[in-house]
Symmetry: C2
Subunit: 351 residues, 2 copies
């Protein structure tokens, strides 16, 4: 059974990370318990005169803001921006004021640039909602409102919290009708996400076997999963596996990156199942004509048991997070024999 | 003299592309002549009830919108968005309406996704200003207002046009006081940009000699030059030299990508001379501790002769375009013996 196998690459012995479904569903329950706290935050914010929303974070936490940004801009008349914490502190923004709402996140609650941004906002009386993984941390102390994370390593639970926050805010503005229904269906997705891991495992095994040690790999995706492609390549393959990558959107692939693809170039296309699917299909049609070393992961293969069709498009990033950030990374770790927990510089050097 | 040398790599004979200063300054003159057309466009737009601005394009033309977006969001209360043409057509945007202003660009005037976006906007009565390199092309026909490009291969002239457009609009809104002064100083930069090429040549020679054929190179930059880093790696190194690259912002470098850098990893940091310079300095301080195969290009080394200090920060992207997209790419071409004009797929296959 693959999940119990041992990798001995590089002279190390790595036991394949076992997906603990019981723990996962327990953490899902704890996450769902935070929905009522988020609704209190939404109620309070709705009494403020909010003129715009700024999603501001760093690295992996910036990436999880991406799908929220993607959905929000299709739905709300409220101006909404996605910004990098360090850049916003350096430059400011003409529309960021005490009438803004800043939404941020940091798993550790200690991300240097995000904490600096929160301090900078606080000084300007700009309200901040922060998703924080640890109580009592700097970000927790600086935030106007804190939503505590209950799951150690599952961005899909942060997505669930962000959706309740965003759609809650939109509902108050009359910009999202199905809030209660969607929230209830959201509670059912963890079981499905656990099942998707199992269904994806054989493919994860195949991809990891082929690409865990290639000198370069290209990942392509679009729309609401772009943040996931960005963070998988940067925060997982580069940071945790020391693998060189390039991530490009399906639309932009055709404006330069295609030219480096040859027969044997390692490529993965992740097809979303939302409004930008046609952009991925264009890549899918083109790739086989120039390359025979690619994989296609189609998120349409992963169907929720209770989520209504009209809400499904919002949930592409949680599927991606379960399949790629969790399941696939375990297979890379297994084949490479390179622990996902080892860093060369982060936590080792000061910078 | 390097500019007359011949490269015989790969059995081809490549004569180094000579920078034709006379032609360049002539094209600059023609570009400056378009300023009055742009001012007519600005006057007309200012009579409309514009609620927000959308900068929408594809590939290299999307990249040139980036510095405009960067400056605009620091200055205007008008909501402003930067979007990919193909994505906006696929998803729409809740705030994009006939009260929006779309600013777009395409050198060829025929970029498939940009033309489709313009047709989509036109159908919705959304006004479009288009920078177009060729008269009578599809984009020219679809646009509400067209600004014609007069220079074959110099994005810095498109930047000049975009600055006149943007700052002209902001001036009418009372959000940019120095418009006339800035416009007049803008007219003097082409001579400086030509001089910067000469000053940069020895360094370009050195970088190209070292990195024209490496299997992977990492480019880092921030703020108003991020678009230039993005397009240099994708639209020049990948598209025109078939070199594998990764581009990352100075801020995000510390959230994953740093871990793949070893002693011999080819890295170039481009230091801007605007508000995000401190983010680049953080990278500059860190890099030598882990790598000895990197170059730093400091835009502070390139000083305009007449531009006032307070306007200098807007002009980082034009400097970058002259140094990297033009001068450095010629040196890469020379050493690689790989013509910048050859494509594997673009113009060869249908996609």
């Amino acid at each position: 059974m693959a999940f119990c196998a041992l990798s001995e690459a590089k002279g190390m012995v790595i036991k394949m990370k076992h997906f603990n479904k019981t723990k996962y569903l327990k953490e899902a329950e704890l996450t769902i318990e935070t929905f009522k706290d988020i609704e209190e935050v939404v109620a309070d914010i709705s009494n403020r005169n909010i003129e715009n929303i700024f999603l501001i974070a760093s690295g992996g936490s910036l990436a999880i803001m991406n799908p929220i940004y993607f959905v929000a801009k299709q739905k709300t008349k409220l101006p909404i921006y996605l910004e990098v914490a360090a850049e916003i502190v350096a430059t400011g923004h003409a529309q960021l004021s005490e009438n803004s709402l800043v939404i941020t996140a940091s798993k550790s609650g200690m991300t240097k640039e995000t904490v600096a941004m929160a301090a900078w906002c606080k000084e300007k009386n700009i309200p901040i909602v922060a998703l924080v993984g640890k109580e009592g941390t700097l970000l927790h102390k600086l935030a106007t409102y804190t939503v505590l994370g209950k799951a150690k390593d599952a961005p899909e639970f942060e997505y669930m919290q962000l959706f309740v926050l965003l759609f809650g805010l939109l509902e108050k503005r009359g910009e999202f009708d199905g809030y209660l229904e969607f929230k209830n269906q959201l509670k059912t997705i963890p079981g499905d996400l656990a099942r998707f891991r199992d269904e994806f495992s054989p493919k994860a095994d195949e991809i990891a076997k082929a690409f865990h040690n290639v000198p370069y790999q290209l990942w392509i995706g679009s729309g609401s999963i772009w943040g996931e492609i960005y963070s998988l390549t940067m925060c997982v393959w580069e940071e945790m596996q020391w693998l060189k990558t390039k991530a490009v959107t399906s639309a932009e692939f055709f404006h330069g990156t295609l030219e480096i693809v040859e027969k044997d170039t390692p490529v993965v296309l992740v097809k979303t199942d939302d409004k930008t699917r046609s952009l991925d299909e264009r890549v899918e049609k083109f790739l086989p004509q120039i390359c025979d070393n690619f994989f296609v992961i189609d998120l349409r293969d992963y169907q929720f048991s209770t989520v209504k069709t009209e809400y499904r498009e919002y949930l592409m990033a949680p599927i991606c997070s379960a399949l790629l950030g969790d399941c696939l990374s375990s297979y890379y770790e297994f084949y490479s024999g390179h622990s996902l927990n080892i860093r060369r510089y982060y936590g080792v050097m000061d910078y």
